[in-house]
């Protein structure tokens, strides 16, 4: 039987700080976020401004990670790219969290809504997310906002299922009965008790959504439906190097490593959170 948990209590925090993946992932992420936040200070060059006489320069003292075919500094573009990547990831996570909670909680709590909502989610899940995002981008045009919409649409079905599963478990617990018996309204029960107790699995899921969003944004940009150029998104940088795999492989390699660092940090963080917050989930 699942115990109602109080996330505000210090115990989870202490356990989190004792979790090695959480601490390593957390430190890595903080470093990356700082690098992104301080990009204007750290970046040695203007990420958008190129010198076409220095195009496709290999890594060297002037450009540590080389330049692209505009002669733009890859390192500077990566630093600014991290901002974009993290911002898109964070916004997707927020959107997926809100929509997923709304849909999942409604489906789990109001029985009549369950079937139609879940069928709709099934239909969305049956679409490969990348094609869905392509279609959205083709429809609305490629922009940062539309990438977020596309990724949120693609990740919401799974998030809503996580929330629904938790709601189904929690709603049957005694303390919900207790709340109902003292005359709490349905909405209040849903908000106060059920959702609070679904927060653990949701936080864990959203950490992974963040990681998925960073990966998917890169794939979308690579296919050409990501944030429009000259935005230095990781996927855009990789796509820009596609024609120069032989002559300038550094354009392709460096942003991939940056993606790995961010996603690795998020996955570690998610593992740590999962171990502490959601003992039921153990993939």
């Amino acid at each position: 039987m699942m115990e109602p948990r109080d996330l505000a209590s210090p115990a989870p925090w202490r356990r989190l700080l004792a979790s090695r993946p959480f601490v390593i992932g957390g430190i890595l992420l903080v470093v990356l976020v700082l690098a992104a936040a301080l990009a204007p200070i750290l970046a040695p060059h203007d990420p958008l401004r190129g010198n076409f006489r220095l195009r496709l320069a290999p890594p060297g003292p002037l450009h540590w990670l080389g330049t692209d075919h505009f002669g733009r500094d890859i390192l500077s573009r990566l630093l600014f790219g991290a901002r974009l990547s993290l911002a898109i990831g964070a916004a997707t996570t927020l959107a997926s969290g809100l929509a997923g909670t709304l849909i999942g909680a409604s489906a789990g709590y109001f029985r009549r809504l369950d079937e139609p909502l879940m069928r709709l989610m099934d239909a969305l899940m049956a679409f490969p997310a990348i094609l869905l995002a392509m279609a959205v981008a083709a429809t609305l045009g490629a922009s940062v906002g539309n990438v977020i919409i596309a990724l949120a649409v693609a990740t919401t079905p799974h998030t809503s299922r996580v929330v629904r599963a938790s709601v189904l478990v929690v709603r049957e617990l005694e303390f919900v009965e207790a709340a109902r018996s003292i005359g709490a309204t349905e909405t209040r029960i849903l908000l106060r008790h059920v959702l609070l107790n679904c927060l653990g699995p949701l936080i864990v899921r959203l950490t992974y959504v963040f990681a998925i969003a960073v990966l998917a944004e890169a794939a979308l940009s690579y296919i050409g439906v990501g944030p429009p150029p000259p935005a230095p998104s990781f996927g855009n940088i990789i796509a820009g190097g596609r024609d120069f795999l032989v002559t300038a492989p550094w354009i392709t390699i460096a942003p991939g490593c940056a993606i790995i660092a961010i996603v690795l940090a998020l996955n570690l963080l998610g593992d740590g959170l999962r171990d502490v917050l959601d003992p039921r989930l153990r993939p």
Binding site: I130, L131, A138, T139, A218, Y222, L245, I260, L268
Partner: protein
């Protein structure tokens, strides 16, 4: 029981199908531009555009197009591609073996290596091998598959010349050629999913190894290999099989990008091309088709689940 189960599931699938086709139509309505633009260069006059649009049947109202399409579907027809000079069904069927062989190879790589790594890690629980394997699995999860594909191209195709940079050779033409053309994309796609399966297999195996019946088997004095292979693994497979369903979905999605990277003429590339070229009947048919594959895989997973675990009732 099985029949009732299948019946119920097919009913659910029909609903999802209908929703998918409606979503596809919605997209087709919303996406600006049409196939005429792909056929014409930038200097085409408005009259030429209109004439060609009429020739392709694109001047009908969206509602008329939708009704015509559902009418065709009712007769079992997916319609005719606007550009490919063949029916949508033909276009899909000629791509099917390609995408299937790619996803099957990637799935095999992911399952075989993932399960072995996961089981190995569970058996070495807490040791250096466990840490190493799980580190690799986590790393695998964090690598973008398309980027891994590009890296493979740089190193193994362009650098060492061991494999072609892309394209597809049918098995019927040459088994060695097929293997060479599928190795890099299969690995790029499979390795990233391998991490997922390895983590699942490890935790599932650890879970099972801690269970009473394993202790019973120990108490019976059975050999270690017998305990692992005959007792622990079949039980550990139950959650792994569930993950395989999810992984297959991810692989189908991943194959869309990998087919771009390696220029493989699969279903994903067909649909991407159709979206870019506004070949609406192909978009419709292709999305419906992928949804069908996804639903079918999940149905198979459910059946497999029941085969592996006699406690599961198909209801």
């Amino acid at each position: 029981m099985l029949v009732a189960f299948l019946f119920r599931r097919l009913g659910g699938a029909a609903v999802v199908f209908l929703l998918v086709s409606m979503l596809a139509f919605l997209l087709v309505w919303l996406i600006p531009g049409d196939a005429v633009a792909v056929l014409l260069d930038a200097a085409a006059s408005p009259e030429e555009t209109a004439r060609l649009r009429a020739a392709l049947g694109l001047d009908r109202s969206p509602l008329a197009q939708m009704l015509a399409w559902y009418g065709g579907l009712a007769r079992g027809q997916l319609g005719h591609s606007l550009l490919l000079n063949r029916s949508v069904a033909e276009a899909l069927l000629e791509r099917l073996p390609i995408t299937l062989s790619l996803t099957a190879l990637a799935l095999a790589i992911a399952v075989v290596f993932g399960t072995s790594a996961g089981v190995g890690a569970a058996l070495a629980h807490g040791g250096w091998l466990d840490q190493l394997l799980m580190g690799v699995a986590l790393f695998g999860l964090s690598v973008p598959d398309f980027w891994l594909g590009l890296l493979f191209i740089i190193v193994f195709a362009l650098g060492l010349g061991w494999f072609p940079t892309g394209g597809f050779v049918p098995i019927s033409e040459s088994l060695a050629g097929w293997a060479r053309s599928m190795t890099l994309p299969g690995l790029a796609l499979g390795l990233t999913q391998m991490g997922f399966i390895a983590r699942m297999a490890r935790s599932s195996m650890l879970d099972v190894l801690g269970q009473d019946f394993v202790r019973t088997a120990e108490a019976k004095g059975l050999s270690r290999s017998r305990i692992i292979l005959a007792h622990a693994l079949p039980n550990a497979m139950v959650p792994i099989v569930t993950v395989i369903g999810i992984v297959t979905g991810a692989l189908l999605g991943g194959s869309v990008v990998i087919e771009q990277v390696f220029s493989i003429p699969g279903v994903g590339r067909l649909i991407v091309g159709a979206i870019l070229a506004r070949d609406f009947p192909v978009i419709q048919g292709g999305l419906l088709f992928l949804a069908g594959v996804y639903l079918l895989v999940n149905l198979i997973v459910d059946l497999l689940y029941a085969v592996i675990d006699p406690r599961v009732r198909l209801a």
